[in-house]
């Protein structure tokens, strides 16, 4: 098991005793119950769990889309758990590259314009923006489709555009939410290979999934259940513990 304590400093991500409580219809729902772990630069970590385990809430907190009810979240040396809405917007823009299950591309914009978007919010000049977006699309081998709109692209191509958009701002980490969930197995495999390449290139990847098979491909996996960490170890071990060797594809 990895060291989950807050002691290991110099880490890219350090969450300490994070809780997140929602109030739904007068009832208190504790989605995260004191979660502590750290992720170092260059790691590829899967956060795995069943529906209702708290993994989506964990992803929202890690992605600075939501703030914890209590506990501390340090991202790249900054305490982001108590930041204002606008400060979090800046953090999302600079530190995080999102990859969503449903791609979340703007349907009326071209692939190139979609990839440029994070740089627009950084106030970058149009020419430089375009160059960088082209370079990012080149990394995912999609330069030949850059003037196409999302509805003219296949599922795998759309996800690659989304990955290019996540890469373009050179964030501290890539945060992927069920990145292969909407893809057939062959295309999903293509995307996982792309992640492997990105990992080898030194990117920090956090992947939220319910698929043990996918978690098994990651060097490290954290398993959540009922809002708490129940396992933190190598992807293969955690996946096998969840689904057995056959199902986990190991």
């Amino acid at each position: 098991m990895s060291d989950g304590s807050g002691a290991g400093n110099g880490r890219l991500i350090q969450v300490d005793d994070i809780t997140r409580v929602f109030h739904v219809g007068g009832e208190e729902v504790r989605a995260l119950r004191g979660v502590t772990f750290g992720i170092s630069r260059g790691e590829w970590v899967a956060i795995i769990g069943q529906s209702g385990s708290g993994k989506s809430t964990m992803m929202n907190v890690l992605g600075c889309l939501d703030t914890p009810t209590s506990g501390r979240y340090m991202l790249n040396g900054k305490d982001v758990s108590r930041m204002s809405d606008d400060e979090l917007a800046v953090i999302r823009n600079v530190e995080i590259g999102f990859i969503f299950q449903t791609f979340q591309l703007l349907p009326k914009e071209t692939a190139l314009a979609n990839v440029e978007l994070p740089l627009v919010y950084r106030g970058m000049a149009a020419k430089e923006r375009r160059e960088r977006a082209k370079a990012a699309l080149d990394k995912v081998q999609l330069t030949h489709r850059m003037h196409h709109r999302p509805n003219e692209l296949s599922g795998g191509q759309r996800q690659r555009v989304a990955i290019a958009r996540a890469l373009v701002s050179e964030p501290s980490m890539l945060l992927a939410d069920e990145p292969t969930g909407n893809l057939d197995s062959a295309t999903g495999e293509e995307i996982v290979r792309l992640f492997e390449q990105l990992h080898k290139a030194g990117h920090t990847l956090v992947l939220v999934t319910h698929e043990p098979k996918l978690a098994a491909r990651c060097p490290r996996a954290i398993r959540l259940s009922d809002g708490s960490i129940v396992a933190d170890g190598s992807g293969r071990e955690v996946a096998m513990a969840v689904a057995g060797p056959m199902v986990a594809g190991v």
């Binding site: 929202n60 992605g63 889309l65 939501d66 809405d85 606008d86 917007a89 800046v90 999302r92 823009n93 600079v94 999102f98 969503f100 979340q104 591309l105 703007l106 009326k108 978007l117 994070p118 627009v120 919010y121 950084r122 106030g123 958009r165 701002s169 050179e170």
Partner: protein
């Protein structure tokens, strides 16, 4: 790298997205634009026509002469008890030389008395023609020119000659194509020889200033009765002296009429300018109602914009979520939607301005109403439209910006 988007970037990006979105929803844009456009058009057409009326009124009023005063026991616009004015002492002709001696700033002075009469020449007859008794100085006070013959002379007055100087309407109607000078007209069955014709002055509040016959004052008294109260028309050297003249005249007239100290003035000093004030009071209410109607139309257009913007926010909830996730701040989203609302309104404003000006122009061409649209009105119209868009866009824009990014990304 620091992510600090300036307001300039927000506005530029907002404008780009706004235009993109407006182009993408053409029919909706056109319909929304129409709403605000109709509002601006209504407002501008109304304001244009009213401004036109005002301008032409003031222009006509100026033809009275800015340096003239008219002293009478009656005010031009009677408010309240007519009998109070009726019971005031009349001015007498004997007072005129004394007035002139006491008020050296008066450059021309004439008594003036009038009635409406039938005028005929040959088979042609005109009714309700103003017959006015004046002296030889009246020409320079009233601002007429002589277009043919001569004006009334001192000699005409002394011997109460039955001569007349006729206005342009009378001349054209009675003597088409021939010179009236030397011919004899009948005024209420009395004969007057035409000795001159007057230049055209036009209309004031739709009443012709040229439907008149000027005759010597004494001739008027001897023909139409001596008892009639008259008005004293006077001119001062130039318009800048009018106020000073007015102040001095009050004292002079009180002495002349032996008004007791402590008693209110028993006369009125009438000026074209005062008529303008009364006119402004009369039209002010109309103006207010008309502008109110235009504003209500604009309000309806604004509500249309708000409605469409709320629909737009709902439709683009996921887009807002994506933008927020990628680093758009609340302000960026607010600016984006405000730009969209303001763009629709500004386009509507331009459209409305064109239609409004066109309507005012057409109205001025096919009706006697004059239209006059000033630059400030046009700018005001476009600015106001954009302002309406901004105001009615605030709520939808705030709703968009306050969406929870997590919820927005999940929105189906």
């Amino acid at each position: 790298m620091k992510s600090v988007t300036s307001l300039r970037v927000d506005v530029l990006e907002g404008a780009r997205i706004a235009l993109f979105s407006l182009r993408a929803n053409r029919l909706r844009t056109v319909l929304t634009t129409l709403g605000i456009g109709i509002g601006v058009a209504t407002l501008l057409a109304i304001v244009g026509i009213i401004q036109g009326l005002n301008t032409s009124f003031h222009k006509q009023l100026a033809s009275f002469g800015a340096n003239t005063l008219y002293v009478s026991k009656f005010p031009w616009m009677i408010k309240g008890d007519w009998w109070k004015y009726r019971n005031r002492k009349n001015f007498t002709l004997e007072q005129l030389p004394r007035l002139r001696a006491m008020a050296p700033f008066i450059t021309a002075l004439s008594p003036s008395v009038s009635r409406l009469s039938d005028v005929s020449y040959g088979g042609e007859q005109m009714s309700s023609v103003r017959i006015q008794g004046v002296n030889h100085e009246y020409l320079s006070i009233a601002g007429f020119d002589i277009t043919g013959g001569r004006f009334i002379t001192e000699a005409d007055e002394e011997v109460t000659r039955p001569v007349a100087v006729i206005g342009a309407d009378v001349a054209e109607r009675m003597f088409p194509g021939i010179s009236p000078v030397g011919r004899t007209i009948r005024v209420d069955n009395r004969s007057f020889q035409v000795v001159g014709t007057l230049s055209r002055k036009g209309k004031v509040v739709n009443e012709s200033m040229d439907l008149l016959v000027l005759i010597p004052f004494k001739t008027f008294y001897s023909n139409f009765g001596k008892g009639r109260p008259f008005e004293i028309a006077m001119a001062v050297a130039d318009a800048s002296q009018v106020r000073m003249a007015e102040d001095q005249l009050i004292g002079i007239l009180r002495r002349l009429r032996a008004t007791e100290p402590g008693q209110p003035d028993d006369f009125n000093i009438n000026k074209p300018e005062a008529m303008a004030q009364t006119y402004a009071q009369l039209t002010g209410a109309l103006y207010g109602v008309a502008v109110g109607v235009g504003l209500i139309t604009l309000l309806v257009g604004g509500i249309g914009i708000m409605n469409i913007m709320l629909v737009s926010v709902r439709e683009r909830t996921r887009e807002i979520g994506v933008r927020r996730a990628l680093g758009a701040r609340k302000r960026t989203i607010v600016v984006q939607f405000l730009m969209e609302a303001a763009s629709v309104s500004a386009v509507g404003g331009l459209l409305g301005t064109t239609v409004g000006l066109g309507t005012a122009k057409v109205v001025s061409l096919i009706t006697p109403l004059a239209a006059d649209v000033q630059t400030t009105t046009v700018l005001g119209g476009v600015f106001f439209a954009a302002l309406v868009g901004l105001l009615f866009g605030i709520w939808p824009a705030a709703r968009a910006a306050n969406l929870d990014p997590v919820e927005a990304l999940r929105y189906e």
